[in-house]
Amino acid sequence: MAEDQEPQEESLFTAPPMAEQERMVEAILFATAEPVTIRELTGRMPHGCDPAEALVHLRKRYEGRGVSVMKIGDAWAIRTAPDLGFLMQREKVETRKLSRAAIETLAIIAYHQPVTRAEIEEIRGVSVSRGTIDQLLEMEWIRFGRRKMTPGRPVTFVVTEGFLDHFGLETARDLPGLKELRSAGLLDNRPPPGHGLDDDEGDEDSDGSQPPLFDED
């Protein structure tokens, strides 16, 4: 144990060569099924390493290979190339079939996040059952976001890194068609006409004094 300290102490000043750092990142990413954050990589690699740079090299190295280096939120993981899925018949995991309500709710949360339950209901035109939200929470595809600064301070929902990982998304900004939806104004939170007069609704901020927290992500 004591001997191990020395090279580490030394490397405070001289980090291993980049090729070596790339090997280290490769080994760490191969060893786990979960995405690994840069922070964790930094913590596990010798002092002075730059895992972010090593990842750039590693990602390039695996381009077009049977597995690829993927970015998921702030974390990184290696995944098999999607075109080879047919070879993995045996590895397939039966995911619980989601109801239409659950799929729609999930999509609304992903595209509109952070979004309150009332907003989801407004979009779907129907109340959201507790079970739907619970199921998505349990699958760890959604989580609670911060509360809205509107009367009643309702909780919001956002999608998780597990969601991004499952659908192979780098960030929620990479959701299919997001840009088009936004430019078409379909992601706006447009209150019903005359709604501002209606003061018993807790979650709208049609009065101009509210800070516009909606589109922060």
Binding site: M1, F30, A31, T32, A33, E34, R44, A77, I78, R79, T80, A81, P82, G85, M88, E91, K92, V93, T95, R100, A101, I103, E104, L106, A107, I108, A110, Y111, I123, R124, G125, V126, S127, D165, H166, F167, G168, L169, L175, P176, G177, L181, A184, L186, R190, P192, P193, G194, L197
Partner: protein, 265 residues
Amino acid sequence: MTDADGFDQTPTSLTERLAAEALIVDVDGFEGPLDLLLTLGRTQKVDLRQISILQLAEQYLSFVEEARSLRIELAADYLVMAAWLAFLKSRLLLPPDPEEEGPSGEELAAHLAFQLERLSAMRESAAKLMARDQKGRDFFARGVTEDVASVRRISYTASLLDLMQAYARLRTKDDFRPYVMDRVEVMTLEQALERMRGLIGYAGDWIDISSYMPEGWGATGTRRRSATAANFAASLELVKEGRAEIRQGDIFAPIYIRKKARDDG
């Protein structure tokens, strides 16, 4: 489907009739009135942006009418929507009343169109999302994972003060001689201050003042109380003299003291 033959009183073409029946039979399958409106709207075979809200309102109202004639019970929210659409319809048909407050029929219709378009867009997005390559179906994570062992390494540490106190303890044991104190149970502020002045010089770090307790003063309640009080008073005195800093994280939390960095220069 064969049961449908009994409902020939509906004066519509066969295909229309079948479509309407399919809708009604499916009424449980609709995710609320907005979903039903969207389905009805699609039968207009125009882009949702060009949809006629007036026509849609009529379609909806006749759907509800039909359901009633078939004695199909509709959930309350479908009826609320019907009432609202009837109101909207009248607003759209009648010339606007300048006396009336609130949004115009056009504004309400525009918002409904927006809601339908938004719902439709979210449906499509949901479908696109589910059509993506999915983990565990199309691409896969590592099959053999290696556990990251959490190695707990214990690092022992000691301060110079610890070292000196330890040595002092040993040396005083050697030249121990009977010693009589006038007031055995009482430690005076002067005594504590004298001691703390000397000790504080060796400690650069925050140190719990209870660790400055003189040896042998922690045993009995009276002695401990006296020493604690004297130590605390001495600490305050040192802070007042500008020689030390003192802090406490919380009520009843340990009180820390450290030598104040000299800033008189």
